[in-house]
Symmetry: C2
DNA sequence: ACCTGAACACCGTTCAAGT
DNA sequence: ACCTGAACACCGTTCAAGT
């Protein structure tokens, strides 16, 4: 993890890890079948850092997990994107998912919608954090491009019109919080819809 | 792109590309400064495939772009995840963003919210498609884990309760469509909120 | 069970040289 | 401008051998 944090994912080689441990590269193969398993271990440690918070209101638990996920991404930007590429079957990831299930259930979301909404929520949160860590949301990058004079500007009229809002003032904290609030509203709307549906329909 | 589609990202080496072109590895450096630039070219071609659809209703344009992004991810699962790791400053990506801006404006979203909502939407769509391509949403993986007997099952009661809904019946098409509809509702709610706010407030 | 050492089949990129 | 050939400093992993 230290190697990844310091030198990016490219710095995590079996040889570099072995050298850091004062051991021969082949010694690692007693602990791990191959390099992929080693990276899986890194991902698992990331999920341990997210964990489930002990909070009362379901909204606060959603907010806390989202915020922690993003904090983990900032601490380990090189490793974080791997979260989107690995199946959610490890113990640590199942614990996080279980906690989100619980929050959605307390929110009143219908059972049949809970796993879907969990994936919707976690996909957005992981996607945002990974985008930020990977540099997709670079401060000022888009505005700079939009301000570029020449033929391109004419083909991007809305980038020009919206220029002042393009980079959120570089304040991704506030933007992320707003996004999470919007998704919490969406969840509340889904549960309201379920409540009304249950009152009016015979069964379903 | 062919190499990536056939053998994954690992199969895309400067040496393999050169060999495919019947040329020496070093010949590539006349066209591209390094390997990263070569991968940037792949990403740019992916964005070209998404493009902006010519459709009337803003909802249909959102649906079309989301659906196309996902189709691209299925055609090029190895390259697609790179989309989340590169800044949106290339011509092709700006065109896609511009089209989403236009749809959100037609939806009635306030100018100050448009770039944020564009990022919310594209982050989810790219995140979902990348998750699917990368195998995060593996069919049956989570249910299998939840069904696993032993001590773990006791710590995951909701996975047990929700077992029948855990993998969406493997029908990610339907789940993705539902997600997109939910987000369209969210956008409509935001624009409604803006309409009401504008009528009631003096300026803002 | 855990570790070493040598080897194999690869990498991206530099450098000097050719046309 | 475009391409070659040799070299450098790396990879992950196999295999045989040691304790």
């Amino acid at each position: 993890m230290t190697l990844a944090d310091e030198g990016g994912l490219a710095a995590v080689s079996m040889r570099a890890v072995a050298s850091r441990l004062g051991v021969t590269p082949m010694a690692l193969y007693s602990y791990v079948p191959d390099k992929e398993a080693l990276l899986d271990g890194l991902v698992e440690r990331l999920l341990d850092e997210i964990r489930a918070p002990a909070s009362r209101a379901w909204e606060d638990r959603i907010r806390a997990m989202a915020s922690r996920a993003r904090a983990v991404a900032r601490r380990h930007p090189a490793v974080f994107p791997l979260l989107l590429a690995r199946p959610v079957v490890t113990p640590a990831s199942l614990l996080v998912v279980e906690a989100i299930f619980a929050a959605l259930r307390d929110a009143g979301v219908a059972d049949r919608d809970i796993p879907r909404v969990e994936r919707l929520l976690s996909t957005f949160v992981l996607g945002f954090a990974a985008s930020e860590a990977g540099g997709r949301l670079g401060p000022g990058s888009v505005p700079t491009a939009a301000r570029r004079s020449g033929s391109e500007a004419a083909e991007l009229p809305l980038h020009h019109t919206l220029a002042e809002f393009l980079d959120a003032g570089g304040n991704w904290d506030a933007e992320f919080d707003e996004d999470v609030e919007d998704l919490i509203h969406l969840i509340a709307a889904l549960s309201e819809h379920e409540r009304v549906g249950r009152a009016n329909l015979p069964r379903r």
